[in-house]
Point group: C2
DNA sequence: TATTAGCAATAACATCGTTATATAAAAACC
DNA sequence: GGTTTTTATATAACGATGTTATTGCTAATA
């Protein structure tokens, strides 16, 4: 092993590699969106990119590394979707809008959602670090929850718990709908709304006991 | 093609085949429980059974056929778990007990649960018929829901909807816990209880508006 | 008894993730 | 500038996967 000095060339090379990685991930993302998680094979990706499979291994280590990037990208897309929700109007309406955005993201990007929460790629199980990174996007929901009650404010831990309950409700409905365990397409939406409403009415109404 | 008469031999042969199928499925079930869905390969199953892979194809058609039987068996096990819940005491306590049994089943049989609701075997997607057969087990929950309100009874459709909401809540928490998106083991239990309680208090209390 | 139908074992095919080998290219060094 | 060393990529191979074609054997039927 050499000392591998930080020459300008090495830096440029690193940047070039980063660009390569992004390009590869763009192609892999297209493959994922168009043909689903089962189509994600190293050979398919390499053929799509126009390189050898060996390149993928030097860039990402193994298939785990490739899918892990897609996993993180999925959570990043979700975070962006939630972040683009305008929080005008009442705080509770903002929570509603976040929930709708979550459901919309899951429906529009079901393959990404599968990688994030189902386990469609046998070779991949998300590492602890990636899971924690992905969950960072939920701070938006936690903050939105916390903003709902100003008269009887919620503790940090409690708002996390409420956000988790909302998340579980969202995921439950969305996941069962994607697995086609809910017959129609429009039906789970109304069910989801009713389920969320029970949570909101019980836990997010301000000045309930306190005045 | 011959007319294939229903001789006693043929009948015995069919029964023998059924016994064989059950034995194969028992072995496959053990493999699933011990090593997870990724270990479910035709060669592994055949080696475990002590037969050739070709036998599996004559018995089940293809891997889809094998996993489909495990899928149905999973729902059957869940149904049995729910059916073994004693419904003594208040109707609402029975609903609570069903929910606990559901959660317990999912935790104890996570590999089965994955096959039923995640998509861990790329070669298998549940057919419509199997999905409908599996969902039959939820009649227990629907009936339990319907039994909760006698003063202000619920319509059949409404009790189905409420059961679906409970189911989605259960699945949301259980699924996120299995995917390790909920940090601790005991935490999601209390969260699940709170989520369920909001639903029960809102939708399952009798004589709420009517007296 | 002779024939025929069906089942199962073996081997093969295509594909998968991964790796060893070899070749080309570029950086490092003198 | 020439030489060496390191790096990167392509090719081919290995083991394992689902599936199928081929072959041989067993048993019911005529």
């Amino acid at each position: 092993m050499k000392a591998e000095r930080q020459t300008t060339y090495r830096i440029a090379q690193k940047q070039h590699q980063q660009a390569l990685r992004q390009g590869v991930l763009d192609d892999a993302s297209n493959l994922l969106m168009k043909e689903g998680p089962a189509a994600l094979s190293m050979r398919r990706i390499a053929k799509l990119v126009g390189c050898s499979t060996m390149t993928l291994y030097t860039l990402f280590g193994n298939k785990q590394g490739v899918v892990d990037q897609l996993y993180l990208r999925g959570f990043e897309l979700l975070r962006q979707a939630l972040e683009s929700v305008p929080h005008t109007g009442a705080p509770l309406d903002y929570v509603w809008a976040l929930c709708y955005a979550y459901r919309q993201f899951a429906m529009d990007n079901s393959s990404y959602y599968a990688i994030m929460f189902a386990n469609p790629v046998p070779e991949y199980t998300p590492p602890e670090a990636s899971r924690q990174t992905g969950e960072k996007g939920f701070i938006l929901l936690v903050q939105a929850v916390q903003g709902c009650r100003v008269v009887s404010p919620i503790t940090q831990a409690e708002s996390w718990d409420i956000a988790r309950m909302i998340w579980a409700t969202l995921h439950g409905h969305v996941s069962l709908a994607l697995a086609k365990h809910f017959d129609e397409v429009t039906l789970p939406a109304s069910l989801l709304e009713r389920s969320l409403k029970t949570i909101f009415d019980t836990l997010l109404v301000d000045e309930e006991s306190a005045v």
